[in-house]
Amino acid sequence: MWFRSATLLWRRTALPAGRPFPRCYSTPTPTSPELYDVVCVGGGPAGLSLLAALRSSAATSGLKVALVEGQDLKKNVLRDSTPSTFSNRCSSLTPASVRYLKEIGAWSFIDESRVQPYQGMEVWDGLSGSKITFDWDETNSVARRPSRHDSQTIAYMIENINLTTGLQNFLKALGGITILSPAKVESISYGDSTGSSNLSTWPVVKVSGGQTLAARLLVGADGANSPVRTFAGIQSRGWRYERMGMVATIQLESEPVRKIAYQRFLSTGPIAMLPLPGKMASLVWSTTPERAEVLKALSEEDFSAMVNAGFRLSDPDLQYLHGLEAGQAKEVEWRRRHTPQSGAVPTTVIGVQENTIAAFPLQLRHADTYTAERIALVGDAAHTIHPLAGQGLNLGQGDIASLVRTIKSAVESGQDIGSTLALEQYTSERYAANNTVMGVCDKLHKLYSFQSAPIVGLRSLGLSAVDKLGFLKGFLMRNAAGGA
């Protein structure tokens, strides 16, 4: 097979200067690949939304598209029809994201009985008690109000699996897509040039089933460790927060009268409770890996007590409680009685749904660019973000809307949808916008990770100031609602 590596060598050296060195981790495939206009790697929220949007728009429905997903999509669907238990992977979808899903026709495939819209946000500083109240009505004057229904709603809590199941069903109804699942990407390399057919700029994806697909445009919707990004030689920079995002589906003492999101900044990171239908809620607690280990090992009763403590007790109390091996429930009950409560706190947690406690490492990463020749990155493949503003999935929805718009205008003007020129619009629309949101979330995280008195002082000044500055709050609110 020496000749094959020789062709490979030739192709590498023949690449135009300036293009990143392709990670070609296999020899080219001998059989000729099937040609597609769009090959999307990754069938998470971003990838499925992309395909749905492409198939449902008249201008792009003629494109030949394929999806490659490593996991078995058929197994990854919502089975529970009673909204009493919920998946621990939930996201808050902004009105802008919901609007987009409605626009492409996917929203009606979502089980709305499992979706919880919420109308308010209570955010406060655990050290100083300084508070910022997000209430939509206050900021109405600066916020865009697309419809009466949306105007009261900051966001919609939805299980990721509800979203992806809906998208899968929508795609089934639309038809016309080649879906390879479960099929892991094994290698990506450039195609061959034979006679008049020159695939030397086309990425060819080889999947675990043995099939090969050549892509006019290869979309990486393949998550934080994107193999497509690696192939394109696009660097992704950032840092780990040395924090874990603990998630759990929790049960409240009673159904809250008003559905509100609560977030308290602790020195280890924010603890957030987001409403689900009925008495249920979704917990996202960013904390140190050590504390995450402690919390994971607790009994249901003690874990619930720690969540209640997280929203109510002081930093030294919490530090002490994390040092105990068990018995937090009693300790917390006693301490709660002796801690004066100021302002709104969430309804008391009384239980945790079985097998829903999990923890994910948190990181901030941003790819250097979202596009290269015949490559586009969307969703977590392009950026991962601290979950404190619940923006990760929403940024991905914004990416999809922009990329589909870009592809549409390229199709309408006869451009090759994989050309860098055609894809430029996507990067320029999304990069700076995403960077701003990522920067704000990162700064908030850093600001609240300090315990030293001067910074806490500044911080309370900061939050009170933010609370008073209508326009700044308006900016934060609009970004939280994805309407900026």
Partner: protein, 288 residues
């Protein structure tokens, strides 16, 4: 034509219309040949061939102008409801590296595209670039020919004859246009873009674009060859009236135009009245 040196070009104080009896003639054409092709122009474009498709290369502005070309052409075609909207045959004159021809070939309403250019090296580039899109190549919709318009048989007529950024590069626009009009079917269109010969266009294309910003390669433009919108319009009026040189029946034509301006950071924008001072699109429909 050699690369114009700034010092050699005198500022035009009042750009004079150069409409003679029946032809639009560039003020600097010193000799008449039967060919509308200018050899120094060919050499200039040969030299640009290799970078034709580089999105950040010297042809960037042309690439950016391509989508608005289609928008303009689509609006023309849509303006006549009786117009067949499918299976159109297109002749692209002065196709260069194929920016417009290739994109037209991807559109479903064109069933064939014949793209011609006198420069062999740009055609090699066009052909090689087409091969990078095997599905498109396999449709055989797009044919590149090394030819001038006058060498094409007059018996074959097209639904659309396009000439984007060509008029300002030919030696004898009047002859060139006459050749083009004879290849348009009744009910068909001539469509193109060019630059008006005005103070502004001289400063923008020769000074700013070529010399200051360097976004257009030096020597691409000879300002003296630019054709004004009113000259072009008048030319079609005369052709329609049958007062054209030679007295032959040139058909009846309905002319229109649209000014466009390049706004750095935003791309090409339609600007009403822009045809009077800078780049503009034009189209003329041959009435049945």
């Amino acid at each position: 034509m050699t690369t114009p040196k700034l010092s050699r070009i005198r500022l035009p104080l009042s750009p004079k219309p150069t409409l003679t009896n029946s032809t639009i003639r560039s003020p600097t054409v010193r000799h008449h040949t039967t060919s509308t092709i200018n050899t120094s122009e060919i050499n200039h474009f040969n030299a640009l061939a290799s970078s034709w498709w580089d999105p950040h290369g010297p042809s960037r502005l042309l690439h950016l102008m391509n989508p608005p070309r289609h928008t303009f052409l689509r609006s023309c075609l849509a303006s006549h409801p009786t117009q067949p909207s499918k299976n159109l045959h297109l002749l692209d004159v002065g196709c260069g590296g194929g920016i417009f021809a290739e994109s037209a070939a991807r559109l479903p309403h064109f069933s064939s595209i014949t793209a011609i250019d006198p420069s062999p090296s740009v055609l090699t580039v066009a052909q090689a670039h087409l091969a990078l899109d095997p599905p498109l190549h396999a449709t055989n919709k797009l044919t590149y020919l090394q030819s001038s318009i006058e060498d094409l048989p007059r018996t074959k007529q097209y639904d659309v004859v396009s000439m984007f950024e060509v008029l300002e590069h030919v030696s004898n626009p009047s002859n060139f246009l006459r050749e083009a009009t004879q290849r348009v079917k009744p009910g068909g269109w001539i469509v193109g873009s060019t630059i008006a010969r005005t103070w502004t266009s001289w400063v923008v294309t020769n000074v700013i674009a070529e010399e200051v910003l360097g976004v257009v390669p030096r020597g691409t433009h000879d300002w003296r060859k630019y054709v004004n919108e009113y000259e072009l319009r008048a030319w079609f009026v005369k052709l329609t009236a049958g007062t054209d040189v030679g007295g032959m029946d040139g058909g009846r034509w309905d002319f229109r135009s649209q000014g466009v301006v390049y706004v750095p950071g935003f791309g090409w924008r339609v600007v009403e009245g822009g045809e009077k001072f800078g780049n503009y699109f034009f189209a003329a429909r041959r009435m049945e």
